[in-house]
Symmetry: C2
Subunit: 430 residues, 2 copies
């Protein structure tokens, strides 16, 4: 195993630059830990002359067309182009089929095509690793596949999107509105110009689908993730939740139900403010694993960025250099079961509800009547202080009930003439 591992990198954006820096600056350390040299032999990116702050060796092969990388004498392809389709998919499939191992940070690709890629990797005895696809520098994939692999997993719960956590943290700490927090995140480089993939939850859903597969031995099932983003979160919600001892976080949660179905959901949730995940602020990510033997394990770290993501890519490269012996999704692809999806209705939990109503006599009675009719038991009901001539907020915490029951009740309440705005409701994660 002292032959160099010959590496090609497709994509020299932020993460690619970090990977090149690591290979250059830490060559001796990486060689010692890998047991062999790591040798960058070819790269591909759109503009050869762009200044990326890295100096590529003169003898490196530069490919305008990324697929040309597969014609080079390489052992490993690092795919950092991104996207579930197109060139990234073509390239990864081509590499695996040619006996070239692959490391990728491409969450969409793995979430959507992970099963087929795992089958392809097995058929050609190649390896496919993707720790950088989920939670940046947090080695969550590796931990699930190795360090705590002996567990029956009971639940995974994560803050997997730094943009959303930055926005929600700033709404909390500064008392500002969603739009203002988003604008600040964009100004700070924590949100894209088009932030929809992040704030509408799809980024978290990609990551959750991958974790679900690893945890429960199921085929990745992105399409069955129950998805809701954070656009509807109002400063009033942050304030009301805070006053009641909660924080609002966008969580990705996967858990098996007693009937064998698996519930995957991405949605803003209330967490008791002392819960470990409630304490994760700013652009940090965190994952809480619950295993039958392990109990609760929390990992908290940088969820994105040049060096943290490169840390995961390079650590995957090290494992391949050593001769990784782990199946792509821990178990052989043929053993991955189709995921029987559950909907959020299958889960009973407390709910937070905020209603905007006119300040009139009889309002509470009308609302209470609707909840009673839908057999939703109310744990607490607080009429919030309000400005003159503005609608009153009523904040309700229910006892445990299903999201479907809450939605039915809220449909009925929304139709009442006293209600001025669409009701808000969020589950409480215990």
């Amino acid at each position: 195993m002292s032959e160099p591992l010959r590496i090609a990198i497709a994509g020299l954006g932020t993460v690619g630059r970090g990977v090149v820096k690591g290979l250059q600056q830490d060559a001796a350390l990486l060689q010692a830990r890998a047991g062999r040299p790591l040798q960058l032999v070819a790269v591909s990116a759109r503009d050869k002359h762009k200044d990326r702050g890295i100096a590529l060796p003169a003898d490196i092969v530069w490919c305008e067309d990324a697929t040309q990388l597969l014609e080079q004498p390489i052992d490993l392809l690092v795919e950092l182009i991104g996207g579930a389709h197109g060139i990234a998919k073509t390239l990864v499939e081509g590499a695996l089929a040619k006996g070239i191992d692959v490391v990728t940070a491409n969450k969409a690709l793995i979430a959507k095509h992970g099963l087929q890629l795992a089958q392809l990797a097995e058929a050609h005895h190649t390896d496919l690793r993707f720790d950088a696809a989920v939670a940046g520098g947090i080695p969550i994939i590796d931990v699930m596949q190795h360090g705590v692999a002996a567990n029956r997993f009971e639940r995974i719960c994560g803050i997997l999107n730094g943009t959303c956590n930055y926005i929600l943290s700033h709404m909390q700490s500064r008392g500002i509105a969603f739009d203002e927090a988003l604008a600040q995140a964009q100004a700070q480089g924590f949100a894209e110009t088009d932030p929809s993939t992040d704030i509408d939850g799809m980024d978290t859903a990609h990551k959750l689908a991958i974790l679900t597969s690893l945890a429960f031995g199921t085929q990745p099932a992105l399409e069955s993730v129950q998805l809701r983003g954070i656009r509807s979160i109002d400063a009033l919600d942050i304030k009301a939740a805070s006053d009641l001892g909660f924080r609002i976080k966008l969580l990705g949660v996967a858990q098996p139900l007693p009937d064998g179905r698996i519930l995957q959901r991405v949605e803003p949730c209330l967490l008791p403010k002392d819960a470990p995940l409630a304490r994760i602020i700013g652009a940090f990510n965190a994952v809480q694993l619950e295993g039958h033997a392990l109990g609760r394990l929390l990992l908290e770290g940088q969820g994105a960025g040049e060096l943290p993501t490169a840390s995961s890519v390079l650590s995957d490269i090290l494992q391949i250099a050593r001769g990784s012996q782990t199946e792509v999704f821990t178990v052989p692809a043929a053993e991955l079961q189709p995921l029987a999806p559950a909907t959020a209705d299958a889960m009973q939990c407390r709910h937070y509800i905020r209603l905007s109503v006119r300040d009139e006599a009889g309002v509470l009675a009308a609302i209470a009547g609707v909840f009673a009719k839908h057999t939703i038991s109310v744990e607490s009901l607080i009429q919030r202080e309000h400005q003159p001539d503005a609608p009153t907020s009523i904040v309700i915490i229910t006892h445990e009930c299903s999201a479907a029951a809450v939605q039915d009740a809220l449909s009925a309440i929304a139709a009442l003439p006293i209600v001025t705005h669409p009701p808000q409701h969020l589950p409480i994660q215990e």
Copy 2:
């Protein structure tokens, strides 16, 4: 790789029982993740007839003498006897020399004899894994060897002893004295009848010596760990620290200095109460890794107990079953450098100091004079409320200075006639 992995377990205490349960109850899951069956073929423990709440199969080989396990047809020995010398060492050495892989939870053995055992394992192409030796269910060894292996580590900082954290947490939350918190920990099963290994810090030192070796590529150097336990922590310290916005934790900290020396220290420290490690309460453990690429990664979980520790043992077994390709201390034993130890004097930090003095005129002037003479700059000085006829507490936070300077100053202060009790001093961990 579909041949069963034949396993012998030496020691059927708490952890051994958990490992047997796991092998029996999760056989199918473990086989799927290992790619081969895990087969328990032999065990050894002192009393064959003791009821351990587990049913061993009739055809299992029971060895009264643990060394007899090595005469069985086994691939892997799980050593759960404990202790740095005697039978545990003999057994592990014997196994490695016979080509039998080893998984152990024995921190003292690895901290004291890790280098020789790694050399032995390499010479015989056997594997030695010990994730359960540090922080119970937290897969910290595996994370350092795999998930974040591409990092230059800059500091490791951990709460590695659940007994001490339980005691300090209860002193904080209940305002009780050390002795009372220790008695409660003993009553709850969180402390041994003889708690000295835990509360005097040696248990943490063993674990830190192992982490230091993995992080910095050095030979384990238990003897150079600067060691101080928690017996001296008074309820007054907990209260004063809390009033100033700090928590007191027993930390194990390892960090390289600019001159290449490595400082390993185990001591009670003040942490700002919002620091991630300050929030770890009760018997939980946590490790904070700082890497040049990764930034800060925190892992928090169960540090002890039957199932959490068995989780780490079984996960190590899985890796060996798959064919682990990682050196014992990540790099070959011959590349591990002797550790050049630094003493705590090499580190500048703020210090907390508590003095018990008679409530007399001129006391502050006398104390301030001593600090000035030792060129220690005082950030804050608070004279605490006191009972009539009781000594007054003076609590001082210094600016950054060395522990040696503080000790010199305190020796001078202790000699003043106004001082009624030995001074307390603790570093502040930023």
